[in-house]
Assembly symmetry: C2
Homo-oligomer: 351 residues x 2
């Protein structure tokens, strides 16, 4: 059945994002995938978005690029109310919860809540600068939520979860490489939670090459300090630093790695880098946090570890993992196509 679907994406970064921007990337693939399936889709996003759907914008560019601080509530308010005022035009309104201001959608959708689906793009227990967010969710626990992993629900199991729909990787963008080179890879934003320093320590202990491909957000003071603290360990010989890379470069970088190191120290609700690496056949060794144990089958498509020393041990036996199995796992469970199908079934469930 053809559905009239509204996607309410973040205003802060372009959709699709030129480089970094996990939520924007997911909204992009979902929107385009639903159009391809014949649905009548409207994307609410900044005017700089590129989409085959109808685009409705309250602001011409992504807010981030106009240096509007991320705590601004004014444009999010105009964005959300614009979409909700048009609610009669839609069978489904899909809200992507990503910033504090997005929580305004919870009280504002009450009059038509049966057609609203919320995807949470952060862990339920996420009190970083959001003190009180779990109280807000408890107040609105009867709204309809989708998790992007089962682990994400921790602490908020009593919410009205409709389903877990895993984030998806574009399997056309990443190609299986059965003949990697000799290095391990870490890729992400410099941030203590992402474990850049732990990856470097593991590589030094194991005596292997590591490429650190990192974006540095100079506006985030803590991130920038972490970058400055970590940089001295990166000797330029066995441990090499390269900057942010494009999707095409990532495909090559992932594919040529013998293993991907993911010593995350937070409960990352999904972890797109793991799935991207695996899509090129590269097995992932991850700390046992967040969704890692759901994405990686321990011993089959990578390893789940609890310490740097254990990571080092698994690095030594990384070649025992079948790279084709890694690729297969993504194709069968974590592709954009699977994700679009998953959301479509959620929509059909509530219509």
């Amino acid at each position: 059945m053809k559905l009239r679907i509204a996607q309410i994406g973040p205003l802060w970064e372009d959709i699709p994002p030129p480089r970094y921007g996990g939520t924007e990337r997911i909204v992009h693939y979902l929107t385009e995938g639903l159009v391809d399936k014949g649905h009548d889709v409207t994307l609410f996003a900044a005017g700089s978005a590129h989409t085959k759907a109808r685009l409705v914008s309250v602001y011409p560019r992504s807010l981030f690029r106009d240096k509007i601080p991320w705590w601004n509530v004014m444009y999010p308010l105009l964005h959300i109310t614009k979409a909700f005022e048009m609610e009669k035009e839609f069978d489904i309104i899909h809200v992507h919860l990503n910033q504090g201001s997005d929580f305004m959608t919870l009280p504002l959708c009450q009059a038509f809540k049966k057609k609203v689906v919320f995807t949470m793009h952060f862990p339920y227990e996420f009190n970083y600068t959001w003190a009180g967010n779990t109280e807000v969710f408890q107040k609105y626990k009867d709204l309809q939520y989708v998790s992007i992993s089962n682990s994400q629900r921790k602490g908020g199991e009593n919410l009205n979860w409709l389903k877990t729909v895993y984030n998806g990787v574009d399997t056309n963008l990443y190609h299986l490489n059965l003949k990697p080179k000799d290095y391990f890879l870490w890729l992400g934003k410099f941030n203590p939670d992402k474990g850049t320093e732990e990856a470097v320590m593991a590589a030094k202990k194991a005596g292997v090459k590591l490429i650190v491909a990192g974006a540095v957000d100079k506006l985030e003071g803590e991130d920038y300090q972490y970058y400055l603290d970590t940089k001295p360990y990166i000797d330029g010989a066995s441990i090499q630093l390269i900057g942010e890379v494009s999707d095409q470069e990532k495909n090559v970088l992932y594919g040529n790695a013998i293993g991907f190191l993911n010593p995350i120290k937070w409960n990352e609700p999904f972890g797109l880098v793991m799935a991207e690496a695996m899509a090129t056949g590269t097995p992932v060794i991850s700390f046992r946090n967040g969704a890692a144990p759901e994405i990686i089958e321990d011993g089959k498509s990578g390893f789940i570890v609890d310490s740097i020393d254990e990571m080092v041990e698994k690095m030594k036996i990384i070649s025992t993992i079948d790279r084709a199995a890694c690729r297969n796992r993504i194709e069968s469970h974590f592709s954009t196509q699977k994700m679009v199908d998953g959301y479509e079934s959620v929509y059909n469930q509530i219509i």
Copy 2:
């Protein structure tokens, strides 16, 4: 007629505030004044508020004291929705717009908007960190607004303004002093917009004593830098610095001043310090910004000037101002009693 009135105050500082906190002070006087007049009043505020009204709280202490950042939307959301869910219990819901998150009230009150009154506690044109706020107001221009001065409306004259209700000073707290000492006074938060440095310059040029009574917000980087920049000019002899003072100390400090200097560089929507000084009989010399020309009758209860040099000239003839006239102006136009009467008439107008 006895009305059932909800006052929705800020959650950030105690009501009443121990020291600084203009909006909290006004909400306090209004709430207590309405109770004294026999109305059935409910105050929505942090649990640490002191009031004769019924108190409803979603959080036990003021957020500021628990170091919750001012851009947090979670507790404001719980606070606002709690009040609005009880809307049937009230004839009037009075919302005090003070922080970015307060703008959520505009879309959220649509179903019962005829009983909602908004007081704006900042200038309509206030784009400091609130890019987009005027677009939000234009979208909701038909809601019912009260201004705290006529000058505050600048740029937003097309909003549905019901009335100007000036902020009020507690005339029992401040006493007329007809025999001041020999110093001029500046009092406020250190901030470039408040013109601490200009007050110091004027006093140096005029060759008079100045007391600078200032609070420094170390969390606000710009304010703290301004304090550090200004401090060297304060020589401790003719220009003296004292810290933040209590209400009782303020009464003495204002009353003993021969004049109050207010070289503000922003369109302050009211300017409570001017009214407080005048309540002790102390005339004010203010830059021609914000509500200054509405509070001060130029030449009768102080002077309106356009430059530091003009301020210096008027400082020389400050004794030509009748101190009793200053006090009278506050009693007749800017007392808490007048303010409570003003809001009561607004409520009766829309009921």
